[in-house]
């Protein structure tokens, strides 16, 4: 094996170990949680948190959507009653309009008044003067002075005061409009030329003296208030039908624009997402155009809604407050719309960026391809090696045993199951064997250029690997649980040991021999020591012991473990749970396995990075933070908590979220004599403390940088814990975090 390969292998083993460790960690965490649960149970059972149940009944919020409840319509009833009424009303109106039409059908100005009268009388029979001694509207007695007037539309009598006049233009408007509208009117019993008014002149009344003596205003038609009212209403209806106010026009445009956005925006977002990923499905120009188009529509929406807002503001009688309110509301909803949709529009890459993205993607593809090719080459090489091998021990019959696996052999094509060449002793697991077989099939198929077969085989392989990974994880968890238990036992003993050790340590420290001692525990030296258990899986227990003892050593140092050490486990931890264990070099995750797990910082760092900056700036954060702090209820709470917080059970003060600072138990005899070193406390409550235990120590004052790093880490832990919904841990960690921040502030103060 080449040197490089050896190195790679070593790294992998380290990764494997770390992987194991993280599993141990996980199991321990789970256990801690369980233990804690027991302690907390009583506090919790009284309150029953939101997350605490997941079985049994259903949260009312999760109930299946309620269908629309019962309804009952009265519309048909309503319409029936209305129709009766409307018929009556419509008939009335139509009658009036037809009469009006007749009254205005001739040239009034050039006709003698007597003739006009005759025509008028022929349109509607006039009521007899004698029958009406009083004005029916105002009740005044008719006399010589208070003369009778006839309504030309209905023939009734009223006094002059109660008389209304209809001008010719008004009449024309009504009659011309009704010609169009009547034909389209909804009511059934309508036809413009209905029977009304056909009985003209049937009652020939004596023309009254009063009427003869009327002044001449022939260009206007007299009528009673009732008829005029009806006509006015009719006019209003006509007006409304024809007139659409500005706001409606603008509003309709606005809605059109909104609809357009609803159509275009999703399309654009799809394009932008694809482009930002460096794909070339869509052209950048096209997307840019679409973006501009959509943005234009937004501008239009903005402009239109602004116009609606200011509509009629400088009119003389200012519009009704309700109109203004309507305009404001439309504007407001348009703003909401734009905010919601426009801000969802992601930006496009610039041309240069896009090129870069494309390049990156290409490189990625290239890399994949290269890796594939490498794998292929490797396999060929192995094939050769193996063939040599086979030749050397041809009589062994090993081939047969290899072929014995239940591989989905395609006998027609006859791919031979070839061994992976490496670490056959590990292949005791049938699944592993299977995986090996299939990988070799794939290689052969690829060499033969059968693409579709490669595909199906790869699919097969993936399934197998998943299965295997799962199995391994389970095993590992099982194993680590046992370890954790054992470790706990040991820890108790070690506590005492530690104490003794610490004392010795201090003596040594005074004897200035410390430096050499701590250096001896340097990480580089630890690594080979950790490698051992990886090589021999049987030694897990020993490993655990080692871990424990290293914990002793490290915590024996006067200073607390360096945050650096805490960094590493976290990296591995957030990686896929199985890759470190997969002993196959040609597994589907070649990039990851080949990478040094210690460099593999990326998966976990986003969380840390994201959270890091606000925190770092926290102590120095400006007034806005202070405002919030003014409201902070927890400061007050602390005092009360001492007085007797409601939610602590009488015998377990620990779960109280508010009072750790005041009455935090400090039961660590082994803690260094540095009074109130906050770091110490941080580690003691930290459920991840094992992470740091195996690391190297540092005796210098904690550097600010490291503190920041530690803060980042804890942030990441919190994030992780939150993701998994472990609220108690989050709690603890948050506490830690606060301690760290305080230390940081102190540091800053001293520097």
């Amino acid at each position: 094996m080449s040197k490089g390969k050896l190195k790679k292998f070593c790294k992998k083993v380290v990764g494997f170990i770390l992987q194991r460790k993280s599993l141990v960690q996980k199991a321990k965490k789970a256990k801690n949680r369980l233990l804690k649960r027991e302690g907390d149970d009583r506090a919790e059972s009284g309150t029953q948190g939101y997350e605490s149940f997941s079985y049994g009944g259903v949260d009312p919020y999760m109930w299946e959507p309620q269908e629309l409840g019962a309804v009952r319509s009265h519309l048909s009833d309503f319409k029936k009653h209305r129709a009766a009424r409307i018929d009556h009303y419509v008939v009335e109106v139509n009658k009036l309009i037809i009469r009006l039409e007749k009254l205005t059908a001739f040239d009034r100005t050039n006709t003698e008044s007597a003739k006009i009268r005759a025509i008028e009388k022929s349109v509607v029979p006039w009521v007899n003067d004698q029958d009406v001694p009083f004005c029916p509207d105002c009740g005044n007695k008719f006399s010589i002075r208070n003369r009778r007037h006839h309504c030309r539309l209905c023939g009734s009598i009223m006094c002059k005061k109660c008389m209304e006049l209809i001008s010719l233009p008004f009449a024309n408007k009504l009659t011309s409009a009704s010609k169009d509208s009547l034909s389209t009117h909804t009511s059934p019993s309508q036809s413009p030329n209905s029977v009304h008014g056909s009985r003209r002149g049937s009652i020939s009344s004596v023309s009254s003296v009063s009427s003869v003596l009327d002044e001449k205003d022939d260009d206007r038609i007299r009528c009673c208030t009732h008829c005029k009212d009806t006509l006015l209403k009719r006019e209003q209806q006509i007006d409304e039908k024809e007139h659409t106010p500005d706001i409606v026009k603008l509003y309709e445009k606005l809605r059109l624009c909104m609809e357009k956005v609803d159509q275009k925006a999703p399309e654009y977002i799809r394009m932008a997402a694809s482009l930002n990923a460096g794909e070339t499905t869509y052209s950048l120009e096209h997307a840019g155009d679409l973006r501009i188009e959509v943005q234009k529509v937004y501008e239009l929406i903005d402009a239109l809604s602004k116009k609606i807002l200011t509509l009629g503001l400088n009119q003389d009688p200012p519009p009704h407050p309700n109109t203004l309110r309507l305009q404001r509301m439309i504007r407001y909803s348009a703003t909401l719309f734009v905010q919601e949709k426009l801000l969802g529009l992601m930006s496009l890459p610039t041309r240069e960026q896009f090129e870069e993205l494309k390049k990156k993607r290409k490189q990625e593809m290239e890399r994949k391809r290269i890796l594939e090719r490498q794998a292929a080459l490797e396999s060929q090489r192995r094939l050769k090696e193996r063939q040599n091998d086979l030749v050397s021990r041809a009589a062994n019959g090993e081939v047969v045993s290899l072929r014995g696996g239940p591989a989905p052999l395609r006998k027609a094509e006859g791919w031979l199951p070839l061994s992976g060449g490496q670490g056959q002793s590990e292949d005791s697991d049938p699944l592993l064997q299977q995986i090996h077989n299939i990988t070799s099939f794939i290689r052969q198929a690829r060499a033969a250029g059968r693409v579709d077969e490669v595909h199906t085989l790869q699919e097969n392989l993936r399934q197998l690997q998943d299965e295997y990974d799962q199995q391994q994880t389970e095993k590992a968890i099982e194993l680590s649980r046992r370890q954790a238990e054992e470790e706990d036992l040991q820890r108790e003993q070690l506590q005492m040991l530690r104490e003794r050790e610490w004392e010795r340590e201090r003596e040594q420290f005074q004897a200035v021999s410390l430096h050499t001692r701590t250096r001896s525990l340097d990480f580089r030296e630890i690594r080979p020591f950790q490698l051992e258990p990886g090589r021999e899986p049987r030694t897990h227990l020993a490993y655990a012991l080692d871990l424990g003892s290293s914990a002793v050593q490290s915590s024996a140092a006067p200073e607390t473990p360096s945050p650096v050490s805490a960094l590493e486990p976290v990296r591995v931890w957030s990686g896929p749970p199985a890759f470190g264990q997969d002993p196959l070099p040609q597994s589907t995750v070649p990039q990851q396995t080949s990478l040094n797990p210690f460099e593999d910082e990326d998966p976990s760092s986003p969380a840390a990075d994201g959270s890091a900056s606000p925190l770092a700036s926290e102590p120095a954060s400006g007034p806005s933070a202070c405002i919030l702090k003014e409201y902070n209820p927890f400061e007050e709470e602390e005092e009360e908590a001492v007085a007797g917080n409601p939610f602590t059970t009488p015998d377990s003060p620990a779960p109280n979220p508010f009072d750790e600072e005041d009455e935090h138990p400090y039961p660590r005899p082994s803690s260094p004599p540095v009074p109130g070193n906050p770091f110490e406390e941080a580690t003691c409550t930290n459920p991840f403390e094992m992470d740091s235990d195996s690391g190297p120590e540092r005796e210098e004052a904690i550097e600010e940088e490291l503190l920041l790093q530690q803060i980042d880490n804890i942030k990441a832990y919190i994030f992780d814990a939150k993701q998994c919904g472990r609220l108690d841990e989050v709690e603890l960690l948050t506490e830690n975090l606060r301690e760290l921040k305080r230390t940081l502030a102190k540091q800053k103060g001293t520097n």
């Binding site: 506090a43 939101y50 959507p65 309507l326 994201g610 007050e636």
Partner: protein
Amino acid sequence: MNVVFAVKQYVSKMIEDSGPGMKVLLMDKETTGIVSMVYTQSEILQKEVYLFERIDSQNREIMKHLKAICFLRPTKENVDYLIQELRRPKYSIYFIYFSNVISKSDVKSLAEADEQEVVAEVQEFYGDYIAVNPHLFSLNILGCCQGRNWDPAQLSRTTQGLTALLLSLKKCPMIRYQLSSESAKRLAECVKQVITKEYELFEFRRTEVPPLLLILDRCDDAITPLLNQWTYQAMVHELLGINNNRIDLSRVPGISKDLREVVLSAENDEFYANNMYLNFAEIGSNIKTLMEDFQKKKPKEQQKLESIADMKAFVENYPQFKKMSGTVSKHVTVVGELSRLVSERNLLEVSEVEQELACQNDHSSALQNVKRLLRNPKVTECDAARLVMLYALHYERHSSNSLPGLVMDLRNRGVSEKYRKLVSAVVEYGGKRVRGSDLFSPKDAVAITKQFLKGLKGVENVYTQHQPFLHETLDHLIKGKLKENLYPYLGPSTLRDRPQDIVVFIIGGVTYEEALTAYNLNRTTPGVRIVLGGTAVHNTKRKIRIL
């Protein structure tokens, strides 16, 4: 069985039916409350409803370019207003929805008023109750009874509300009621009557197990509304008062203007939805997390917006940030105020004694504690009176009852007459004579063992030991063990299986503590869905007002 959704569906349907175009929602006082519980303004704006008007407001302008959606209770006044409105229509077209059954004659008079044919729809949509939570509704009626009997107007309103609820959930239930309460029986009969009369409406798809309506009376458990609560929703209601999801914070010292009144609605406030049933300490830690999250998102002062990318990121995150900042400041203010009140009024101590009074049977220690607190100047008048009321309810018939002494103490303390009267009033209302069941001493062997075990274990949390009596009732109901001689069926038929869909109605009001109980039962019992309602949602103050 989700009452919030049920009402919301109705409102959505109304808006949908009216088609596109600018709309105005025309409501009366009660329906305004009903709609506001299920829809927020911005939500309803998106559906083109831009104006909200009261039918009784005179100051409405003619706006023929608007469509009107009328959602009204079918009262005489509303019908009259509507008739006037239709005679001179202010809007182009009317979609009329009544929240309950309307008489044929009213429909006729409306039809005759509609001379201009502006009405396009007349329907009954049974959203005639306030939907507080998915499983909790209220009718917002304070003082529904006069003495032991119904106020007739309120009885009919309650019947309407309850039948509307059944219709909106599409349930035609069997009815059980609390025998010891005359009002419960009356209400049960009225509901039955409506169901019989409107049998066509109540024709729903039959379920295997018919739904059940259980009608209870508050006077059976007068204790629960008198206790201080420690879950978020209940506590806010107890200390600040929730009115149709609104909280008045104007009395909070140093409150900023835009926080004078805040809305707490689980429908669109995720934090509230997740925390409303948690207790105060948990809220504390959750709000801390919320603030930390917020700080993470907060644009930093020091962070200069140097590049365009920075600015872009800032702008893109801004609305989210702003929304979050609203939530954060709201909850921080509310929780801050709660904790201020708790310490100002010495509520922790008060609550502890309250719980002791409600749950334990140690007379001498209870008396001692009450006396001690009465001497404490920090305890408010109301709390002092409340303690004595609890004492009176529990030790009414105790051999060494020293109620007169306590009332004397109250007087010496300078507690006003108003509060002192309450003590006798509460005994009158919910004393032993009235109660159909025993609140304080366990009845059967199981309960005794349970209490004994509890005594051995120690109490989980001194502030939340009290379980509302409703819990036991519902528990028995679910298990099919609720005694028929105490809670008889109305009518001949009885339920043979265990009930699944249950509507519980409490005359005289529910509490949020009971809402929590129902919520927990819903979550823990598979297949059972409980909807709880009452004439109102109580806190101590409201309860006292009724007495």
